[in-house]
């Protein structure tokens, strides 16, 4: 089965180096106002948004996104 024939699942990305909510919003939700796009991303990714930020003094600072995270770029699909 070619990859193109896989059934539709919720769209997601893996972060690029240094990604933040804002950079992902600019890349994946272009055309949506930044604040709204960030808000959408956060609501679709509670597993990241609700995470405690990095330890005090960490390189990660207050960016909760880890390099290994799955980031959804759309809401959950309606049940078929």
């Amino acid at each position: 089965m070619p990859a193109g024939e896989l059934s539709q699942v919720r769209k997601s990305i893996l972060p690029q180096h240094g990604d933040t909510w804002q950079s992902i919003a600019a890349r994946m939700l272009a055309g949506v106002a930044e604040a709204e796009a960030v808000s959408k991303l956060q609501s679709w990714n509670l597993h990241v948004f609700m995470r405690a930020s990095g330890a005090a003094g960490s390189v990660r600072g207050n960016n909760p996104i880890l390099p290994s995270d799955v980031i959804f770029i759309e809401p959950p699909l309606a049940k078929s």
């Binding site: 070619p2 699942v9 290994s68």
Partner: protein, 565 residues
Amino acid sequence: MYDLVIRNGRVVDGSGMPAYNADIALSGNRIAKIGRISEKGRKEIDAEGKVVSPGFIDPHTHFDAQLLWDGYAKPALSHGVTTIVPGNCSLSLAPLRAEYRTKLVGMFNQIEEMPLKAFKEGVVWDWETFSEYITRIRKGLAINVAPLVGHSVIRLWVMGDAAMERTATAEEITAMQGVLRECLDAGAIGLSTSYVDMDEKLQPVPSRYADAGEVEALASVLGEYGRILQIVPEFYDADLTIARLDQLAEISLKYAIPTTFSPLFVNADNVDAIDRVMRRVDEQFARGARVWPQVQTRPIDISFCFAVPSLLFIRLPGWYRIMRFGTPDQIVAAFKDPATREKLVAESAVYNALWPNLRLRLVQTQTNQKYVGMTVGEIAAARGTTPIDVMIDLSIEEHLDAHFLAADMGHNSDERVGALLKHPRVHIGASDGGAHILSFSTYGDTGFLFAHYVRELNAMSIESAVKKITSETAAIWGIPDRGLLQQGYIADIVIFDPQTINRGEEKYVQDVPGDGSRYVRDAMGVDTVIVSGGVAWTAVAGYNAETRGEVLPGQTQDARQMVPA
């Protein structure tokens, strides 16, 4: 003359083909002949009325530490498990520089609930490299070990503290590839990584700071060797699990390696989720990818006392924090402080439907013995208080040595779990043997498979069940010459009574270094366990002092030096 002849057994050979009656002769560590055997053996076993099958392979364990003081991985071996895979979930005990021992012990304590004291009193730290660790555990090894190397520890080795803070540079990734090659050369069967686990400070483990490129770079090394990648996905969410298995599928296809993710649970609130995940698994297999979900056989039972952190309280941050970071005296003091207690009780209200159903399973004082075996709800009624107050009060009275059981917490739908277990693209595993030793007993999952899903529910044939935990596992993991009863194969063999094989009652025993305790289950219905042609355990005589366990695939000589970081 053969070394050992097993006569009159019902051979379930691991292939899934129908059982048949035959004798089996062993010479050295291999199966010499199967059929009617007239020659004598130096030792003979009468298996009349018993099943003779390949030894069971447990692909998801954390026996890494226990193997340092117990080469039998007790009681797993007595349940018929002849090969274990430790090093799952990004954690192995090597390679590990001396300065990170405390860090890794903390991670094992947090993630796998291994007592700190067991490491302190049961482990002599005389290795750093993977090869040195393998050399160390080979001494007195009675069970076969196919060890994974953990991604988190490879990162620590190469990056030091930065492993817990950032992505790796190109040079660091190259160094990690070199370290992985050395581990594979030294006998690692593959690499494990984790996307969910937290360390002892409740911060993400090092593997979670790796980007997709780093994982791919390591997978490319696995591709050089044809070895497996194991991951722990975000199993609590179906969309996340599907995204991960898609990531695994691309890796599997690109580097032609098998991958496996664990665990996959059936719960009342995610029945649809399991169907979606399995549909995706089927699609990815149809593309030629290998993405094996691991499913455990047993329902989820969780025991706990408030002296140590429990998985049951992980979503109650106030509770979890004091259990994680408090000393016993501090925890008791918190319970006695009215303001703190009020906050804890309020936070626990989300589980108010659960607390009355818990059962008190162990206390130390004579006064409270009368409550043992009763539900918390029954004790609350008897004491005229609430269930959560009963748990707190008993814990104060017992100085935290009151133990409770939350039984049947999930993965308990016979129909759904049975269907999953026999699915051709489900890998039976995820036992977690050697870990969570104060939360549940992982031993006897194989006995439970035969007792419940084969004998009681008739959900699968005994031939299919044996195949699932022997030849299929060996094939998925690339373990050669094991998992089948065929001439020329290594003689890892279990003789058991199909009418009585089961897991015994869960019991609390004190056999962990540092006066530690754990929950275990005795084997039922298992007669004899043979490892590499030698009798390793019998129901009559127990564990044999002669040990023949091997490290698998274990192809190279012990190397002395890792790639310098």
